[in-house]
């Protein structure tokens, strides 16, 4: 490949790695960044470069969404690689990390290879995948962690469910440790969560809906953290939803355990009262908690206890959502709206823009050991150009996902993606 260099000029450069937010330019060539900084102006870039005048818009590393249900194979009516990567490109997400709970699940090297190839052939953005921690996601036997890693799996997970058997979890972590493999786990005790469908509390009681206590999360998280201490495995709590979990993670980090955690954008932007009159698009797992818990999560993000923000993209079709609340499926889509919704935190003065971008690109790259997430020489030219101040109203019908279950339909958002590049190629805008 030897295309013309790309010169991005008049940009607001946001580099979460350097922690800088400054005007300047960026030069990319052959799918990587070759120069960046305030010194790049119209006169200082190579004459043959293709000039992209950012007109003061923000330019940042493309987002990395570390928790996406991609639909293929097995649920193509809900999502496909083509639709999800189109949605990602429109949302400024340049790397997707798939959950392994496809049908069949990603629990062998051929499936990893299949998904990665599908991503290369049909995807507009980078598609990477986690693999099953246990064979068939059944929680009984350890999957072929070594071979899966060699095939390109980034990490190991049980998808939407927690691994119930502590002995299996211990052995899986012990084995993963030998390969320095990352275990990503959604901590929620299935017995305690039982038939719960929303946050346990006064609101659930008033609505007559079965609740899920935060203890369902903290008990499982605490178990996992004990096992991390025992095994030394690298561990990432995929989603946490409450203050008590923040305290556990904070304590584990202070002890020096190799622990990180994520939060879904929904838990940062919404709370249980959004369920209102049994709105099933707000039925997600873990459940939306109280406003007090939401505030605590935002604080946890600011403090760096929470490492990353994910969309937890979970497409559901009409048949699984247009049901009574108790019978409806869990999950919300979110890849395409991830950045725009996350910018609410910036506009609410909860944290600076460059700090927000750390959780959306740099930290996921670090945890997954990817070279993305930086505006630095040699880094991949995965870029998002956006205007953080443009107001707009989201219409679910305009989204590119095959499913429409966004909790942000008709929401007023401030900040919009204008263009997205993956490896120096324009994929949106």
């Amino acid at each position: 490949m030897d295309h013309r260099p790309l010169a991005f000029l008049n940009a607001r450069l946001l580099d979460p790695a350097a922690g800088t937010d400054q005007p300047g330019g960026l030069l990319a060539h052959n799918d990587v960044i070759v120069d960046v900084g305030p010194h790049l102006r119209a006169g200082t870039v190579p004459a043959e470069a293709l000039i992209i005048d950012c007109a003061g818009d923000s330019l940042a590393p493309g987002l990395i969404d570390a928790r996406v249900f991609v639909g293929e194979p097995g649920a193509e009516h809900r999502e496909t690689i083509a639709s999800i990567t189109r949605a990602a490109a429109a949302g400024g997400v340049t790397t997707l990390v798939a959950t392994p709970d496809t049908d069949p699940p990603v629990d062998n090297a051929a499936m990893v290879d299949f998904l990665l190839r599908l991503g290369r052939d049909k995807g507009r953005v980078r598609v990477l995948t986690t693999a099953a921690l246990t064979r068939g996601l059944r929680g009984e036997e350890i999957a072929e962690i070594g071979l899966l890693l060699e095939a390109g799996a980034l990490a190991f997970s049980q998808g939407a469910h927690a691994l119930r058997n502590a002995q299996v979890m211990r052995r899986a972590m012990t084995y993963a440790r030998d390969f320095d493999a990352l275990v990503m786990h959604l901590p929620q005790d299935a017995d305690l969560a039982a038939d719960g469908v929303m946050n346990e509390g006064e609101l659930a009681s008033r609505l007559g809906l079965a609740g899920i206590s935060t203890a369902a999360e903290t008990i499982m998280l605490e178990r996992d953290l004990r096992l991390v201490a025992l095994t030394g495995a690298r561990y990432h709590a995929s989603l946490i939803s409450c203050k008590a979990s923040l305290e556990l993670i904070s304590h584990a980090k202070a002890r020096g355990l190799p622990v990180t955690c994520g939060v879904s954008i929904n838990h940062l932007a919404l709370n249980e009262t959004d369920i209102g009159d049994y709105r099933t698009f707000f039925k997600i797992a873990p459940p939306l908690r109280s406003e007090e818990e939401r505030r605590a999560l935002v604080q946890g993000l600011r403090d760096g206890i929470i490492d990353i923000i994910v969309s937890d993209h979970c497409p559901q079709d009409v048949e699984t959502k247009r049901l009574p609340f108790g019978e409806a499926a869990f999950g919300a889509i979110g890849v395409e709206t991830l950045l725009a919704v996350a910018l609410r935190l910036v506009h609410a003065d909860d944290l600076p823009l460059v700090h927000l971008l750390r959780a959306l690109s740099l930290r996921p790259a670090e945890i997954l050991r990817l070279p993305q997430g930086r505006l630095a020489k040699g880094a991949p030219a995965d870029l998002v150009r956006f205007d953080p101040d443009e107001p707009w109203v989201l219409q679910a019908a305009d989204l590119h996902s095959r499913s429409r279950n966004t909790p942000f339909d008709d929401a007023r958002l401030t900040g919009r993606v204008k263009q997205t590049w993956v490896a120096g190629t324009l994929v949106h805008g």
Binding site: A204, S205, G208, P324
Partner: protein, 315 residues
């Protein structure tokens, strides 16, 4: 307030006590008082629903509530059709919304719905053009039961404000309890709930009730003792150890009832588990209002149907 009061019932549906104003409640109770009078006459038939079609759509088995709504509709002149869906189309994979669309196409004027899921009646109400009455949705609400309980209390005690009402039993799973808590607190009663903690919803104390785990303490000076049914599948081990232990601590017998006021009255929404939550001698005794509740049930449902009919065609 009487039926000459200026307030008009302005709701399109009756989905719950939540959302009703005190004035709405007073109108319904006043109309129900009149319906009691009508129902005690030899000629019970009225014509306010003549030509109207009422569908009783029951996704959960029910004998008394369905019969009560049927009789209420017929006394007002409606054509009443009963549909028990638990045995038919749902088993074939038809969703609630499909069923709603199908029924809507039959041009009913009122659909009375009972469903096992909280919020299911709200969902159905959004999908049909006619009035919808909630006859019980999961563990959420059962508004006509609360209205009939309030009517029964008011007719036997004269007024509701200041009365001490003790609701005893499986509060957690009871839509009757939720609707009654909302209604009776709105009307100025002091509501207590009495149950083992495993059968209390989280946050119940924030719904304006006093919580008791000791039945004798909870019944002290109570004017009304409202017992709830304990579902059989919840009797053994899951929430309480056994029916025997439950009756020992939470079953209403002479000994416990003696802690309430001497003129306390006993209620139960039915069907009763005699010997589990209530002793037969009390259920059939002089302080029992259980049969009166059944009579008031028909009257309240007549009032609700008539009030909703008054709103029809008003866009």
């Amino acid at each position: 307030m009487t039926s000459q009061a200026p307030h008009r019932f302005a709701q399109r549906h009756l989905l719950g006590i939540e959302g009703l104003s005190v004035a709405d409640i007073e109108v319904l109770l006043a109309m129900a008082d009149e319906a009691v009078t009508v129902s005690r006459q030899v000629e019970k038939k009225r014509t306010v629903l003549r030509g109207r079609t009422q569908i009783n759509l029951f996704f959960e088995a029910s004998t008394r509530t369905q019969a009560s709504f049927e009789l209420a509709g017929k006394r007002l002149g409606a054509d009443v059709m009963n549909m028990s869906v638990s045995t038919s189309s749902v088993k074939k994979g038809e969703t609630l919304i499909d069923t709603a669309a199908t029924l809507n196409a039959m041009q009913p004027d009122i659909i009375v719905v009972r469903h096992g899921q909280a919020g299911a009646v709200h969902l159905l109400a959004k999908k049909v053009d006619c009035a919808v009455v909630n006859a019980g949705d999961g563990t959420h609400e059962h508004p006509t039961q609360a209205l009939l309980d309030a009517l029964t209390i008011r007719r036997n005690k004269g007024a509701i404000p200041g009365l001490v009402v003790a609701i005893c039993g499986d509060i957690l799973h009871s839509r009757v309890a939720r609707s009654n808590i909302l209604l009776l607190t709105a009307l100025g009663a002091r509501v207590r709930v009495i149950a083992p903690s495993t059968l209390l919803p989280v946050g119940i104390e924030r719904m304006g009730v006093e919580v008791y785990r000791d039945m004798k303490a909870g019944l002290r000076d109570a004017d009304i003792v409202m017992m709830l049914r304990l579902q059989r599948e919840r009797m053994t081990g899951g929430f309480i150890p056994s029916p025997k232990e439950y009756f020992h601590y939470f079953g209403l017998d002479e000994d416990k009832l003696a802690h309430a006021r001497p003129d306390a009255l006993v209620m139960h929404p039915g069907p009763m588990n005699r010997g589990v939550e209530i002793a037969s001698a009390i259920a059939d005794g002089a302080q029992s209002l259980i049969k009166a509740q059944v009579e008031m049930g028909v009257a309240v449902r007549m009032a609700v149907l008539e009030a909703l009919a008054g709103q029809m065609g008003k866009g």
